[in-house]
Symmetry: C2
């Protein structure tokens, strides 16, 4: 997605140890117009999946997921990082964040993913694939079908894609980064 790549080159910051800071437009301050374009692009790429629900993780996945959900006309469910007292029957999974170097659980109410659902998972980053695999775990526990996974930015050099391929669903990343170094950002292709 050319608009996104140009924006990453302009406003993204390549920090040490493979961290890309995009908090001026993607995950702290949000450019809502860009996020709608991202939602449109996800809707276009996943148009033929017949998805019935989008699943993402709070907090940074919510904005791109909700724009995609709006464009596709389907609800979004966001996995929470703590189980509210008002959620009696929850599906749990586990994420290790390499960026933050910590572990956390995610929970989704069993009420909102049914075995008949066709689920599209969306997140802001695909890095090592830990969050993505936790989402897959949740959908499998609900005995629903995953029809696709969409990421705003993929850090190809962290190989999360390799943990997802061969699972039979469509995987799309809107900006694929091959290398982050010395303040430089290099895209694939």
């Amino acid at each position: 997605m050319e608009l996104l790549k140009q924006r990453i080159l302009r406003d993204g910051k390549s920090l040490s140890e493979g961290v890309l800071k995009v908090d001026s437009f993607i995950n702290h301050q949000l450019d809502c117009q860009l996020l709608m374009c991202i939602g449109v692009e996800f809707a276009r790429r996943f148009a033929y999946t017949r998805a019935t629900k989008i699943l993402t993780i709070e907090a940074s996945g919510i904005a791109p997921a909700v724009m995609a959900g709006y464009c596709m006309g389907i609800p979004v469910i966001y996995a929470k990082k703590a189980q509210p007292c008002t959620m009696p029957d929850a599906l749990h999974s586990h994420v290790h964040s390499f960026t933050k170097n910590k572990d956390y659980d995610i929970v989704v109410s069993r009420e909102y993913i049914k075995p008949t659902d066709r689920v599209l998972c969306i997140d802001d980053f695909l890095a090592y694939g830990s969050a993505a695999n936790a989402l897959i775990d949740i959908v499998e526990q609900a005995q629903a079908t995953i029809v696709g996974m969409g990421f705003v930015i993929e850090k190809v050099f962290q190989h999360g894609y390799d943990t997802l391929r061969n699972k039979g669903f469509q995987i799309e990343s809107l900006a694929r980064i091959e290398e982050l170094s010395d303040g430089k950002i290099k895209f694939c292709d």
Copy 2:
């Protein structure tokens, strides 16, 4: 906002101790079409404030804020509940959640709110006003101007509004609830 009130009556659940569960359409599973209508309504009500930024709190404020930001053509900043290592210069404030009976800090990068900014604060609920007052605190620390506060649902009987009135900015709640009891939901007016 009639569409929202009808939806709350249909799908909201009035639990004990003044808790309204709306996690099937507002803050776990999200009805993206309804959220866009909420964004349009905020944009309409705050059209004359000349707001330059929207400020909200992760995670449940993000979806309504991002729809409002899209409709108003301005960026959204969401306060985080933990300070990322990539955010060196942060504004801090403190929230007490009565629903969850716990305290937490919120952080916003100083980079994204400037003294020239006119800030509209948006959140999903106005209850006792603790989160709203933390947002005001952040904006005041940044020496910016608050031009309005918008809430999707106000629980009038918890009196958060009384902590915000007389501050000179516009306050709007899209659904104002007078009473929650015995599974019943009663709106003001």
